[in-house]
Amino acid sequence: MRIKHKAQSTIEMTFVMIAICLLAFGMVRIFRFIGMDLAERRWSHENTITTGNDVQVQLNPDFYRTKRMNSAVKY
């Protein structure tokens, strides 16, 4: 009767890996969002403040909009 348990861990791993992959995908998206949001804001700040001759445009306080997370899908 022990034959019933053959490859049990493989089968379980197959199912579980789906969930793990989703978690890993979510983790990648989240790290990407957080890193990109901080980096792009800083880049936008540096870029706008050193570009052009219009001081009021260079110093515009509303120079950046927070990135959308888009960790799943849009509807």
Partner: protein, 473 residues
């Protein structure tokens, strides 16, 4: 007969069980990362915004133009100072969507040093409220400009109970209460010594032509000196009377002892001169015009002054840092430290009829072709109260009457962010906590406490939808 050992039974679905446990931990960690990431991003955004806004304000003052399109620079925000407070929603897993609020605070200051030199010269410039040094608070989008000083005209009178001059024959004698002090409460009682007699052409005669001596007093203008031995007309004791209470026993002694440092250990001392035209005050060029003129131990900037026949200054128009809405140099007022207080509260009220909606199940919308699996949202207002201790009611927000009246606009023409005026109920007016006032930004003119109340509409929530069109949009 089927044998399934206990050992094998326990091992069934072990990977799934472990994933359930560690997956939950992992999801929690991911949630924490999202939360901290969003908060960090918002904080970074606010810091950059504060710095940019401060620099922008400094620049906009520099390029200001009048109605004739001529440059008319404003100096009020030359050294711009800004503080932002925002109460942002923070991601969480509460039932009706995000409900936790995180206080974000950022301050910025900026000065465009290549555009700084704008002395106020004309009466119109001096009187322009936009030229008052101002710090700006932005609380959940509400702009609260607080002046850090005010332009005031002060009449320079001798200390209460004393006369501006004393005369007598043969010699004037100062009032006994002065204990021999000629300098007292910012006044010099022996500023000028005037000798008169009935007939100046004849010699003094105690009977036929007696001489009368008149001691004219005059104000003293103080300023801080760091040069050793530079006391002006003060004695060394007076120069090291740093708290200016005319009591030398609590000051630094000449030689260190009894737990007190010596005068040589002090980094500064007072220096004073008679308030007269001999001071060569050049207000038009902002030169030699910073003195303590009102004996409050703080220096003021002189813009205008008038003199009497003896060239003694009798009135001064000064920019006084103790006359604005907020004086950061003041230690306590009404038992509180001036500025933003630690107390803060958030009150939440759901909108009647629409609050806290939860919808579950197949709510099919034929127009969108989607099933709403789960919809949770709320419709509420959050009242966030902060307290800011002012140091003076300048009348900009609420009048200085016993029962204060709210000003429609501020002196610079902008809207008044204070919505109500209260008196603590002690003077017959209404308190800042009456039913009408409790939801509004209110200044209590008795305690000088400014209750900053911002109302934040919160209609957030979440919806889980699925499409029946066969493709994800």
């Amino acid at each position: 007969m089927v044998f399934i050992s206990v050992k094998h039974k326990q091992n069934k679905a072990q990977a799934a069980t472990e994933l359930a446990v560690f997956g939950a931990v992992l999801i929690f960690l991911l949630g924490s990362i999202v939360r901290n990431g969003l908060n960090t991003g918002q904080q970074q955004n606010l810091q950059l915004k504060a710095m940019r806004q401060a620099l922008l304000q400094s620049y906009q003052g520099s390029i200001n133009k009048d109605a004739s399109n001529h440059f008319e620079p404003l100096v009020g925000r030359n050294n711009s100072s800004i503080m932002y407070f925002e109460d942002r929603l923070s991601p969480d897993i509460s039932r009706y969507g995000n409900s936790d609020r995180v206080q974000l605070m950022a301050s910025g200051s900026g000065t465009l040093t290549n555009l700084l030199y704008y002395p106020l010269t004309t009466d119109a410039e001096i009187a322009d409220a936009r030229n008052l040094p101002t710090m700006d608070l932005y609380i959940n989008g509400i702009h609260l400009p607080l002046t850090a000083s005010a332009l005031v005209t002060k009449v320079l009178n001798p200390p209460a109970g004393y006369a501006a001059s004393y005369s007598g024959s043969p010699l004037a004698v100062l009032p006994g209460a002065l204990n021999g002090k000629t300098h007292y409460k910012g006044w010099d009682f022996m500023c000028m010594n005037v000798l008169t007699r009935p007939d100046p052409g004849l010699p003094v005669d105690p009977i036929t032509n007696p001489e009368t001596q008149t001691l004219l007093g005059c104000p003293l203008f103080y300023n801080v000196s760091t040069k050793p031995g530079q006391y002006g007309i003060l004695t060394e004791d007076e120069a090291f009377d740093l708290n200016r209470n005319d009591d030398f026993t609590d000051d630094a002694p000449a030689v260190a002892g009894n737990g007190k440092l010596a005068r040589t250990d002090m980094s500064w001392h007072w220096k004073a001169e008679h308030a007269s035209t001999d001071l060569n005050i050049d207000a038009a060029n902002s030169s030699n015009n910073v003195f303590d003129v009102d004996n409050d131990g703080q220096e003021e900037t002189i813009y205008k002054f008038t003199t009497d026949a003896n060239n003694i200054i009798t009135t001064v128009t000064v920019m006084d840092g103790q006359e604005g809405d907020f004086d950061g140099s003041m230690e306590f007022i009404n038992g509180r430290i001036p500025g933003l207080q630690q107390e803060m509260s958030i009150l939440t009220q759901g909108r009647s009829g629409t609050y806290f909606t939860i919808k579950e199940g197949k709510l099919y919308n034929p127009e969108s072709g989607k099933y709403a699996r789960s919809v949770n949202f709320k419709d509420q207002v959050e009242l966030v109260q902060r307290m800011f201790q002012l140091t003076k009611n300048t009348g900009r927000f609420c009048s200085q009457d016993l029962v204060p009246v709210r000003a429609a606009t501020l002196p610079d023409g902008t809207a008044n962010p204070v919505e109500a005026c209260g008196t603590g109920g002690l003077s017959g007016g209404s308190s800042c906590f009456t039913g009408d006032n409790v939801k509004q930004t209110c200044l209590d003119t008795e305690t000088l406490m400014l209750y900053l109340r911002t109302r934040v509409l919160d209609k957030t929530g979440h919806a889980w939808l699925s499409s029946t069109q066969g493709a994800m949009p």
